[in-house]
């Protein structure tokens, strides 16, 4: 384990007290007032060290506070993701000799984009995709990930480091957008009537894949020499495993549409509610990770225990939700509504990121609040969110493709582990729910539940985790989840091949 005992990565006095010099610390030690390095110390800003009183030396010691329970070792940002975390450099002027080449490449790039869009929209191409069985992969966004990888290649040079740096805020905006969309779906009225059986099924369907993926990841990632229990004490592993498990515990909101046509509408509606509950579980998982595994460094000046960060996340989401609600009610036209929506999402996700909180979670909380407050703004807000959901998702995939750490052997290794453990966990969950009488679906429908697609929220969660913890092994989790999502789409297609057209959606799909 790389982290030190005091939770701040502080083996030296300065690490816990950035403002306090070595000399000051030595002076305190000589007076008997210095705090042992293993004891957590509040920052001087929060609780100033009182003047020493010789008669009562013990009273002069600062009150120990609990450190973040799972402090992470400081790490440098991963090279792959560094471009979107660093501020963009001023663009370099291209020398006159290189200009024609850049112009030609740009025109060819735009023409290629045009050609791809034309081809993708052409009915003959869509028929061909269906015939050879790649339509699900296309729908899932594989071409956009490939486009990002292609544009990132040095010989193409379109998505260079500085361009990616400029697209960094778009990534943050996209995460906030997804958070708002998922939160906004959580209208309490739609969940009214959810019985214990549905909750139990959702609990089984989200917890068993979580456990399966965490256990499988531990088995794969455990070092040959170390015992597995030791691995679970490593906060970095624990964090990554929870992120992987959280991503595995969710399914796409389109699952009800994939159920066999013979499935009764009431059962399909229950599946829709289960998906919603799984989303809540996923958001909760990310919130817990972001609160209890704080990023290191002095970027955030407050030192708080994990529970306080959790409360702060909920509070920030609620406050922002209320502000956004008032703002949206001020709109007088569609254009004004668009401005306020765009500004609100950017502000909320930016504020969360600025405080090193999860943008997805904070925006989710704000979205839930908006969805459950009465008012005429709800339909319009939903309309604006839906309007840009697909473009934002596709831009996210292009950026993800560009940042894809292709050399992450562990990540590639984790893809089959993630997919198989997730399917196994969901299959076990569905079977257990059926056995206890909580899930009333036939075997074909249960198979659909077992191999349900991963969904964009899971991808958003791992991307958000990577932004929160830009260094180390989190990149492997991103590879595993994004690759696993695509692989699951292929699996979904294999399961559905030759079956009649899917049923109509029981409720608006995202």
């Amino acid at each position: 384990m790389e982290s030190t005992a005091n939770g701040n990565g502080a083996g030296s006095p300065e690490a816990g007290h950035p403002e306090r010099s070595e000399a000051a610390f030595a002076a305190e030690r000589s007076r008997g007032t210095a705090t042992p390095t293993a004891t957590p110390i509040p920052t001087p800003d929060a609780i100033p060290t009182p003047a020493p009183i010789p008669a009562l030396p013990n009273f002069t010691e600062p009150i120990p506070t609990r450190p973040p329970p799972r402090a992470l070792p400081p790490v440098a940002p991963n090279n792959a993701v560094a471009p979107i975390l660093q501020p963009p450099e001023p663009p370099e002027a291209i020398s006159p000799r290189q200009r024609p080449g850049v112009v030609i490449r740009t025109i060819l790039g735009l023409a290629l984009l045009l050609g791809l869009a034309y081809a993708a929209a052409h009915p003959a191409v869509e028929r061909f995709e269906r015939r050879i069985g790649v339509s699900h992969l296309v729908t899932a966004g594989l071409p956009f990930i490939a486009l990002g990888m292609l544009a990132r290649m040095p010989m193409v040079g379109v998505l260079s480091d500085d361009v990616l740096a400029q697209l960094g805020p778009v990534l943050r905006l996209g995460l906030g957008w997804i958070g708002f969309i998922v939160g906004f779906r959580l209208d309490a009225r739609q969940l009214t009537g959810t019985d214990e059986r549905t909750v139990a099924t959702a609990a089984l369907l989200s917890s068993l894949p979580f456990v399966a993926v965490v256990a499988a990841a531990a088995a794969v990632l455990v070092p040959a020499a170390g015992p597995i229990a030791e691995r679970f004490r490593d906060p970095v592993f624990l964090r990554d495993a929870i992120v992987l498990g959280t991503a595995a515990s969710m399914t796409a909101a389109t699952v009800p549409q994939l159920l066999p046509a013979r499935t009764p509408p009431a059962a399909a509606a229950i599946v829709g509610r289960i998906v919603r509950l799984e989303e809540i579980a996923g958001i909760l998982g990310l919130a817990l990770v972001a609160a209890y595994f704080r990023p290191q460094g002095d970027a955030v000046t407050w030192r708080l225990p994990g529970t306080a960060w959790l409360m702060l996340t909920a509070g920030a989401g609620t406050l922002l939700g209320l502000v956004v609600l008032v703002l949206l009610r001020r709109a007088r036209s569609g254009a004004e509504f668009s401005v306020l929506t765009l500004g609100s999402v950017a502000f909320s996700s930016g504020l969360a990121g600025y405080l090193h909180l999860s943008s997805v979670v904070v925006c989710f909380v704000a979205g839930v609040l908006l969805a459950n407050f009465p008012g005429s703004q709800k339909a319009r807000f939903r309309g604006v969110l839906d309007l840009l959901e697909r473009p934002i998702h596709l831009v996210l995939l292009v950026i993800l493709g560009a940042l894809w750490p292709t050399r992450s052997v562990t990540g590639w290794l984790l893809i089959p582990v993630f997919v198989s453990a997730r399917v196994l966990g969901r299959w076990a969950g569905a079977k257990a729910a059926f056995r206890i009488g909580a899930l009333d679906l036939d075997e074909g429908a249960r198979r659909v539940i077992a191999v349900a697609p991963v969904g964009s929220l899971a991808i958003a969660i791992v991307v958000n985790a990577q932004l929160l913890y830009p260094g180390g092994s989190i990149a492997d989790a991103v590879v595993a989840v994004v690759g696993g999502a695509l692989a699951t789409e292929a699996l979904v297609h294999a399961v559905h091949r030759g079956r009649p057209a899917p049923r109509a959606a029981p409720e608006p799909s995202p």
Partner: protein, 444 residues
């Protein structure tokens, strides 16, 4: 009142975030700055509108107040990072301007536009240059130079400061839903003047560098102009072809394609020396006048116009460093006054010489006063081209732009209202001319 309370609430949240955190990741700071600037500028615009001032003055004022020079909620790094957003905004504004330029409607006003532009740009530049030259005793960076060199530098400043603002003109026309001869003449003049100013700036700065004995001669200047102007126009043709092809054959996801194209124009354009405004303007004019897709493109861009205007003017405002202006207030005020007088006189003279309707002669010259993106870019270019003149030269140039940016839109707004052209259109996407067949190519 509620808008003001919301402004205070947002400011409180920003202040809290800044005291709470020593700075998040760059992207988070930029996203936060973008959202905050967008919301604050929008609310300020509404407060200004309630006071019968242009909304865009509110957007600019918000940028100034929350930007690095006053409150500092949006710091200089974030403003720099938002440059690409500004680039996309410029590209979209230019596309809007291009699709507004129906040659069949502008043709009867061509003489007025040509004469007003020529008199305004040349006369205005010379008048400003003369003022700067005469005030050189108050300007440390000029007082030490011999008269010939001071005159050459004054000429460059004259060209920089005569620049007008297509963005303000388009935004105000949109805001007031204005249409008519005054609106069309002003739009034509500011677009044409933009081209003239780019050419003149390259020539004048080459001449000044030669006079100062700095490397970079006339040949380089000509090459630069040829590349920037011709290259931008050719790139505009290519962009028009791509946009038209997309709108005709694909349609699905056209918003995303348009934004991608604007991003590419802004990002690649600035790196290879093209003028993104000219590229997009050319594309807009071509799509409007050579295809039947002009309305579709106009509607597409128009759908995103409000956020684009808000963020463009707010970022432009946040780049103004008003704190630098007081030491050079006297020359700045003198230049602003001379510029306004010369442009108003040139506008009236041009319109009368061309036999334009009286309302054009009376009100159109006020549309030449606003300055924003182009002038600011040229002022920064001037600062970069002549670093030896230091901060004072930059303060004078940016001070004049700041004054015109904050005050002139209100003047032009009043002129549009008084001319009776405000409120003549219900939507900016005006229907195609009745004479044009529905899907004809080449209705211009």
């Amino acid at each position: 009142m509620i808008d003001a309370v919301l402004l205070a609430l947002l400011a409180g949240l920003m202040h809290t975030a800044r005291t709470f955190s020593a700075g998040g990741q760059a992207a988070a700071g930029t996203s936060l700055g973008f959202g905050y600037l967008l919301l604050t500028a929008f609310l300020s615009g509404r407060i200004f509108a309630a006071a019968r001032l242009p909304k865009l003055t509110g957007y600019i004022a918000a940028g100034v107040v929350v930007g690095p020079s006053v409150l500092g909620f949006v710091d200089a790094t974030v403003v720099d990072n938002l440059q690409i957003v500004n680039g996309i905004a410029v590209s979209l504004i230019a596309l809007t301007a291009g699709t507004e330029l129906r040659l069949d409607r502008v043709r009867p006003l061509a003489r007025t536009i040509g004469l007003t532009t020529a008199l305004g740009v040349f006369g205005g530049a010379l008048a400003i240059a003369a003022t700067v030259f005469l005030l050189r005793g108050h300007l440390a960076f000029l007082s030490a130079l011999p008269a010939a060199q001071a005159a050459a530098v004054a000429l460059v400043l004259g060209v920089v400061l005569v620049a007008q603002s297509p963005a303000v003109v388009v935004a105000l026309s949109d805001e007031l839903r204005a249409d008519g001869p005054v609106t069309r003449v002003v739009l034509g003049v500011v677009v044409l003047a933009d081209l003239f100013v780019i050419v003149l700036f390259a020539l004048a700065s080459a001449a000044a560098k030669a006079a100062l004995g700095v490397a970079g001669g006339a040949r380089i200047a000509v090459g630069h102009i040829a590349w920037e102007l011709l290259g931008s126009i050719v790139a505009g043709f290519v962009l028009a072809a791509l946009l038209a092809a997309y709108l005709r054959w694909v349609r699905r996801g056209s918003t995303l394609f348009l934004l991608t194209a604007a991003f590419v124009v802004a990002e690649v354009g600035q790196r290879i020396g093209f003028d993104p405004l000219l590229v997009s303007l050319t594309a807009g004019v071509l799509v409007r006048n050579l295809t039947a897709l002009g309305d579709e493109l106009h509607e597409l861009v128009g759908g995103a116009s409000l956020p684009v205007y808000v963020i463009f003017f707010a970022v432009t405002g946040s780049k103004l460093h008003l704190a630098d202006v007081p030491p050079v207030a006297l020359p700045v005020l003198a230049i602003v006054a001379v510029r306004a007088a010369s442009l108003l006189a040139a506008g009236r003279a041009g319109a009368r010489l061309a036999g334009a309707p009286p309302e054009v002669a009376r009100w159109a010259p006020y549309g030449l006063l606003p300055q924003a993106g182009v002038a600011l870019a040229l002022a920064l270019l001037f600062t970069r081209a002549f670093p030896e003149f230091g901060g004072e030269a930059s303060a004078v140039a940016l001070g004049v732009v700041a004054m015109n940016e904050l005050v002139a839109p209100a003047v032009y707004r009043l002129a549009l209202v008084r001319s009776g052209e405000a409120g003549r259109t219900h939507a900016r996407a005006t229907p195609a001319p009745a004479s044009a067949p529905p899907r004809a190519v080449g209705n211009g």
